[in-house]
Symmetry: C2
Subunit: 244 residues, 2 copies
Amino acid sequence: MNYKLTIEYDGTRYDGWQRQSTTEQTIQGKIERVLSRMTGKDIEIDGAGRTDAGVHARGQTANVHLGFYGSDEEILEYLNEYLPDDIGIVSVERVPERFHARLWATGKCYSYRIGIDSCKSVFDRKYRYPLGKKLDVVAMRRAASDLLGTHDFRSFCGNPRMKKSTVRTIEDILIEELEHEVKITYTGNGFLQYMVRILTGTLIEVGLHQRKEDSMPWLLEQKERKLAGVTAPAQGLCLEQVYY
Amino acid sequence: MNYKLTIEYDGTRYDGWQRQSTTEQTIQGKIERVLSRMTGKDIEIDGAGRTDAGVHARGQTANVHLGFYGSDEEILEYLNEYLPDDIGIVSVERVPERFHARLWATGKCYSYRIGIDSCKSVFDRKYRYPLGKKLDVVAMRRAASDLLGTHDFRSFCGNPRMKKSTVRTIEDILIEELEHEVKITYTGNGFLQYMVRILTGTLIEVGLHQRKEDSMPWLLEQKERKLAGVTAPAQGLCLEQVYY
């Protein structure tokens, strides 16, 4: 039987989603360990997005093939009982045998939160990048509009040796001015390594008037990572949802 | 000069607001220590509400008499630099010399958050009481309506030796059904020791049908703490605002 898991986590303490031989502190590793304990077998799960170290998730998904170990609700309760407090299973559901969390995903939604004043944001400090400077969101929205649609995003790809296609489609970039913060929400069919963080670093530079708001078409054309902005810190990023 | 501080804190690690000789882990103590460092003098501050151990605040207030040590903004930045990450100063403002944060307060607003399902709520777990059971909010609202207005709240007072008046006025009790939680927001002219937590424990019992929704007038009349519900845990409680 094939199960789809929807997962949320506070990534602060973790070395990212993907299991690694060099560290026990991965989200995938923690979930696999509990599933292995439940079943008495070595269990592997496939996640939809390989979030980086320190990145959070409200709607990560994964799938896992298991025998019968109880109802969906019982599996959910078992996982939540034995997982650390900062990893939670939101739902467990039976899916078709061929369902694959990563390969079947048709899109993803990420949010990035930027603190724009000297407010210490006691309750949000682990989920917000404390820039502490005002941002010109009108300029940022103007720049973001040129990033929408289907483009080769090689300039925004963190992996210089990426051999596969770097063409992706961004459907929406929503830039909101909230109390103490600017929140950017990206929706697209897929994102390259560090792409959301490089897009954010670049848009921040536009918002600080360190980069021109009409320079995105040129930047896309260059296909040169070094010309884009800095990679914004992991803590502001959250994988909100995976679409199927 | 007299300054009003507006303060937020994650109370998880602290033994409450009030300075105590037996522990260094109090919010008041932490703020006084930074102010003493800034001024080179022993500084005492007066807080509006003495929140219990583990209780949070988004809008606690206090006042402090200081000589001139810079602009309001400079004092705010100094405090936020030297305070721990889980205590933040939201604002610093000059107020009349006679202003007293506790004595001048005309009202307070507290919220209490109750988790009602098996969701682990990774991001809210420190700020929500994980009851894990459905609540009948219609019955709770019916009971809450009988608590509004001016009453002797001795049945809801955690201090059995309270000698002063236990008469208070509750202006509003808002009960909201949100995703995964029920949130109760109390607004009134003042609250007795543990009063919000005892009110919440009692309303939870109504919501679980362990106590009748029309029993509040009787309970108020008894003036007997033992007849009210349990004191709900500290972690769900937050001092939202102090009114002047």
